[in-house]
Symmetry: C2
Subunit: 304 residues, 2 copies
Amino acid sequence: MLDTQKLVTFATVVRTGSFAAAARELGYTQPGVSQQMKALERDLRATLFSRAGRGLKLSEEGEALAGRVGGLIADLRAAEERVAAVSRLKQGRVRVCAFPSANATLVPAAMSRLRSRHVNIEIELFEAEPPESLEGLERGDYDVVVAFRYDDQPPAPEVGELVTIPLLDEPMVLMMSDEHPLARRKQVELAELDTARWIAGCVRCRQEFVNACADAGFAPRIDITTDDNLAVQSYVVAGLGLAVMPRMTQSFVKHPKLRAKPLLPERRRHVTATILRSQPKTGAVERVIESLLHAARELNSAYI
Amino acid sequence: MLDTQKLVTFATVVRTGSFAAAARELGYTQPGVSQQMKALERDLRATLFSRAGRGLKLSEEGEALAGRVGGLIADLRAAEERVAAVSRLKQGRVRVCAFPSANATLVPAAMSRLRSRHVNIEIELFEAEPPESLEGLERGDYDVVVAFRYDDQPPAPEVGELVTIPLLDEPMVLMMSDEHPLARRKQVELAELDTARWIAGCVRCRQEFVNACADAGFAPRIDITTDDNLAVQSYVVAGLGLAVMPRMTQSFVKHPKLRAKPLLPERRRHVTATILRSQPKTGAVERVIESLLHAARELNSAYI
DNA sequence: CGTTACACAAACGACTGCTTATACTTCGTG
DNA sequence: CACGAAGTATAAGCAGTCGTTTGTGTAACG
């Protein structure tokens, strides 16, 4: 049966293109690699290389194996990583990844609640936005991911390994300076603002905003794009433009001269917690989820 | 890094439930297995089992690994098998799997043509029907699969590894004894036969037939089901019922008292050759496909 | 309370697998 | 064209791995 050591060596040989280079990289000597590859060929009863004096070429069998070996090694590493993750979780160490504004509001609230009742749970915090954060979850980099999706994105992939738990739905709000002509209006339709200038947030938020404007029948003039929420508010207050942001972004920092109005037509951002289906029943993850749900309920009620 | 030998041993321990049983099955002694598992735990820095005197239980880490180890081993074996398949193909040995009636008509014609011009190609023939045959292709059991699908099945999965090459479309025919009241009619609508008694073929053919009747507005009374085409004809000639079969089935054996009429509304069976996308360019497979295409053309023209 | 079945520990031996040393081939270059 | 550089193959030596043997500890069962 194919053994992993030889597979790793083979992959390195394929990548570097020579036994000697692979040996240098792996910390073997050249004859060691040569013998390993010979043994691999003996195991498989196939010639993998055609030795052409200096430099070597993969045979067709070699190509066939080379095409798979990457995936095989990745799967082995992933299995190792899963076991390590379970060990961590059993020790009460949970890796949580959230997007920036959740890391400023929802997650700290949940963590403080968690800390007050489960002293034996240790949290490692990471910051990333979907879909990178969800890829990290599948790769085994995180145990819990706090992500979001907008109305017009597929409701819940729910495909494969991921389990999605809804945390809260927050409305998008229209932000403007208190000196803006529309600052006293109670309701503003997005379509009224087709000639306005805009400040946009992170890449996905910007895309969502462009979609909303398209639905309202215009293409927005976006002058400034930044993923710094404080900066967005500063620009808006300075009168450089309007912004459409999730409501949560003003719960942790709100400029005194900022005015926020409900966006019409209404659009919502759905904040979710996502875990792997194969999550073991260690309790630590469940407690984190429970705390997130509780914090989300409090955030929701504070704003309704 | 996880090495395969220990993984196989681990999988066997998990399956059998004890070190000793795994040792017996693998041809080791019990302490050998015990040491391997200890080494595996050391590699992973995790305890995989909770030793409970006699008999042992998997820890959560053990469960996590157990859930993946099967797939890992299967992937390793599959990679081995791919390399072996390439070796076989380079020696000109092609494994062809077809469904029964193709094995009686299309495949022999193609093989005889192939034999006459490429003496260095050796064919191994297998018989299976889709979807089993296609699963065998993905598993690496075959190199070329001759399969079929009916009109109402998804046109071509074309997903993942499989590449589908159309060979021929054959119409379904209505078979009856020459003494049947409708034997002199030139055309018969399926809907006219809602009270007839029926002989059905293989499982998928039977399903296709039931679907056809459902489209025509009735549920057929099927008295006999057999995947033996000769038997179907015999029952039909004996007056025990009618049958709807692909036309090809009467090209290799046709009872003299059998009458076949075009089925109305027309339904067709699509015969295809399927190979793996990652097929190496050995030529042998290409020649087999080419022969199958040629034989299919001849069969088509002989019947139009 | 002994028997049985199993896991664990230690000692031993064989074999695997890496290293060093050396020879051979090819390619590039002065 | 000859020589050096770079690469692979082979041989020999040596060490560590791995499986067996042998013996001990422990939990379940009659």
